[in-house]
Symmetry: D2
Subunit: 345 residues, 4 copies
């Protein structure tokens, strides 16, 4: 049984990995690292897990990690993973990195929005972990750069339409809304209960660092440079992300044609659910699950397609997709450990 370690286990994406992996039948969780909680039992940091996990948090050490784990999830802030991962790969480990460090093909783009990159060679080997789109490459990868939450919610519905040349590439607008857990467990006024509760706002309008990530992948599929208007907003909910995407159509086609395009692209992809027209997605329908629900509506008068996608930002938008990628990398069934039943409320 594959032994798995999580580096940065006490942030929200780390803890979500623990939740999912603690119930995963195909692997064994053997190492959890945390700088802040070194030496503390994981279930003392997160009492919800009492009785479910017997590990304590350790300081990060490459040697210990390599001794105890065959597969590693890096759940650290960007700039740290690129310092540690080359050694892990060198020692034959497989890695899914949840930061932005290995999401980009083009180092210049990464460096223009993050900072200088110290492992550019590895960057080229890394595979972008949008599971449904890149599963063939992921299967053969040693290192997967797990997608950002916003990019996941925007790319999954758009890529099939771009590949089929259905949409005007100059017209794309993504109006996205994320639950507060997307901002992580670090403290800030933005995530203070009293400032987020009963509040709704846009932030980093046109400047969010997920924009170039989205554009690099879209450009790859379009075969030419693509630009998108992307505006993130902060929702007063813990989990959930919904993107409302506006695109002009290249020709008069029906919503059913577009729905058919998505259906055929995602046939046999259990985590993509194309919604019927009268039942648009709701973040509540995907809460706690790895689903991406996609709805469509043709705005006929304006010849514009309106696409709505919903994910749980911590699951399909982060840790769930990371586990899905691990499953693919390990040759397991893609859905292993990810079939927790959804809840009506």
């Amino acid at each position: 049984m594959t032994r798995v370690g999580i580096v940065g286990a006490t942030g929200y994406t780390g803890a979500e990995l623990v939740r999912l992996l603690s119930a995963h039948p195909g692997i064994e969780l053997t190492v959890l690292t945390s700088r802040q909680y070194e030496g503390v039992r994981f279930d003392h940091v997160f009492p919800a897990m009492a009785g479910r996990i017997d590990l304590s948090c350790e300081a990060f050490s490459v040697n210990t990690l390599c001794d105890k784990a065959d597969f590693v999830f890096m759940a650290l802030p960007h700039s740290l993973p690129m310092q540690y991962i080359p050694e892990l790969i060198h020692r034959g480990k497989k890695v899914v990195d949840l930061s932005a460090d290995f999401r980009f093909n083009n180092p210049a783009i990464y460096e223009s929005v993050y900072q200088s990159h110290v492992a550019k060679d590895l960057m080229k080997e890394a595979v972008y972990g949008l599971s449904e789109v890149y599963s063939d490459r992921i299967r053969r990868a040693s290192l997967v750069g797990n997608p950002g939450c916003y990019p996941t919610s925007i790319l999954l519905p758009l890529i099939p339409l771009i590949k089929k040349n259905l949409i005007d590439l100059d017209s794309m607008i993504a109006d996205s809304k994320s639950g507060v857990s997307g901002a992580g467990r670090s403290l800030s006024l933005t995530t203070h209960f009293c400032e987020a509760n009963e509040s709704f706002k846009a932030y980093k309008i046109g400047t969010h660092r997920h924009t170039p990530e989205i554009e690099e992948i879209l450009s790859e599929h379009a075969g030419k440079p693509i630009s998108i208007s992307f505006v993130p907003h902060l929702l007063p909910i813990t989990r959930g992300m919904l993107s409302t995407i506006y695109v002009n159509l290249n020709k008069k086609i029906s919503a059913e044609d577009v729905r058919g395009c998505l259906h055929s692209f995602y046939a046999r992809r259990p985590f993509i659910r194309i919604r019927p027209e009268n039942q648009p997605p709701d973040t509540l329908y995907v809460r706690g699950t790895n689903y991406c629900d996609i709805g469509l509506k043709l705005d006929q008068k304006n010849n514009r397609m309106i696409i709505v996608s919903a994910i749980d930002n911590l699951v399909k938008g982060a840790s769930g997709q990371a586990v899905q990628n691990m499953n693919i990398m390990l040759g397991l069934e893609e859905t292993t450990g990810l079939t927790l039943p959804p809840s009506a409320i």
Copy 2:
């Protein structure tokens, strides 16, 4: 002192009128009607108001209303006001109607999305109550059709830009998000706590009845028929509405130019607050107030302007603007009774 009646006082917009008018120094609240709570003290229906109001709810009667009130707010579902208002106007009363019945100039548009109209003559006399834009007409009006909440949040930022011919009229998209109180006090699964809490969704995509209301007013200012893509969403908050509006620019202009256009259009308009670039609007900043906060950001790469406006859907989006219109109709200072201090949280 003007005696004021509220027809339909126990819905949310009615109760919000009571809140605002109970502290209004220039009028006297004399009649509250409610079919459901006839004979019940208002502060038994809404215990928050205990000690603040001494009226009981009455059944609606034109005669009683005309005896007791000089000015009437109609806070009933559409289709009812058009049956009652002609008589009130005939008897010399001034009326602000919060339903859709008197918002349209063109009966055909109204009838295409609501139902047949029984007071088409009066429809033409009625003034659209977007206070900052139509104050001159409102001043002379006997009947004001108070704007919808979504139209208010979308029209206030767009009208000045359209008048200055700054934007591509074929490119307008409004992605709007509303708190649950916008759906009123009637019971439905949509507004059940467990279905709205921790949920976010789009609804009536491209089919919401506020779309033709927005388009009629925009067309008037553009001097030609205009169409807009409008998608409303439901936010898990009680009060607040935020619209994120995307428009292509006619020429290369800066966000500061657009901001200047809004500043000069709304100079001396105390309820419009143009936000600095680094402080975009937040529904929390306008909660409980009659403000409309507007932020701007130029998406230079796409030559697109991104406009964000925030209002409290029950105040500037309904009852507050209704009181503002009353003030204008009565020759009072526009802000009378509407200067309740905003709250930081």
Copy 3:
């Protein structure tokens, strides 16, 4: 494999049964009934379940139910189950009833707070489904009356202390707080988002119908009639229940002694988690799970023990405990299908 039916599958406890049973490895879900949604696919009523269940809702019919199911969950409002269950039992089915109809031993008590009972004989055969306390009886039962949510949260910590004669039986006070889902999916102003959000209140003070249910069970364990002050409150959260219980101690004993009493009573009971003193329960720690977390604190100056228990009102407080009871009745491992991993947030 046991074939299972749910009567009343589209209320919240019914839907929660579907969630839990859809992932239960030891049974097969074969019938879902719903008066309101007859003929509608279950995943159209609850889109969260799309791709996870292929059943449509049926009208209730004893014959169909008996043909298709060996085991039946009744998730109907009280007064209905007592009309249907006798026939089901007569035909050899095993039944867990989630209403109050079969929770009481004494028909007079039931009738004093609900209505007249039409199956009093069966009432005496039914076993009260507080799983950890009555597992021996449950194992042999054909009919289990599943406990109320408030009683579950109050009885689990109190019964061991009463059996050990540690507490003054005249001093018991339970101050309980429940999430809104406890009120069910029926529409009411109380559960309207705008009336529950940002609100907190007590209700049915001293008159809630769970009081006699609690008192009957406590009296059984005390060997004499017992009375308790019980005040329920409504929390603005979807799921979760916390009871803060105040009891005077019979003698000077430490919190550790009381904790030890609970530990030994609930040894080998995986769903009861006794919390360490510095980590009191939080509804968030048990959300979506079948756990009951119990914390203790001695108020030395007043010689009073303060006990805090937390459950998810829909799981351990309703459907989870119902499944636990089914497991016991079917000779399965008590935890089967109930080991979904808890979530940190």
Copy 4:
């Protein structure tokens, strides 16, 4: 017109003072101090106040403060006010301190739960600012120690009953629940949105520092040392506090008698609203207001009175009562600036 300064204006109680005083007709706000935001316009720290206040935050300086203000609110964490206030009093200023520094008569009690006190003499002169109970002393005071939020909600209903000798002084239990704003604007995991949202928990069980504050005042009115069991809980709402109080009765009396006792004690006290039996308090009814709503229910079987009180923790529980005390100290009408209309939702 009295010139007023606020020391610590950018915490939540400070900002709430600004909200209330910005609309107060009898004073002029002249100084706001903030260590963190020195030099920043107040409406940049709290954009809600844009257009409503023209002051910038200053560093704290006794000289500047004394030059610019006649009346000072101290909204700093405890231990700081006692260092600054003696000099302010010496220079003839009147002061309301919102910290715990001047709430106690007995320095030993203060020092046992806070830290050593450096202004013990002044402590004896300071008046406890429970406005309705101590208005005569407040009227003559130079320094008022503004009560804690929990004590306010517990003392207001209990004092009249103790004075009338209606309750068993050994039986008092207060189960209190507070909105998150009670924890202030400082960052902590407890107030992180994701940890507070959908959560409910008890904290500092039996050890909260408001306990001795409550007990000192109760003891004064009882004429002997009194002890109470007090358990605070954290509610996932921004504003609001509800205390459910359990007391055994000295003799058989009715809820109406107790209600009458409260009514006569608080006659002509506009901020105390005694609720009818069928309409218990709700935090929503007092949100944003200075009201304390009190409900009563006799638990006849147990001869126990159940009292429920609701306040807005930031208004009557802090800044509103502070303004009320200022009004009394300045000889203004007690309600001046505090009559903002309550909101139904």
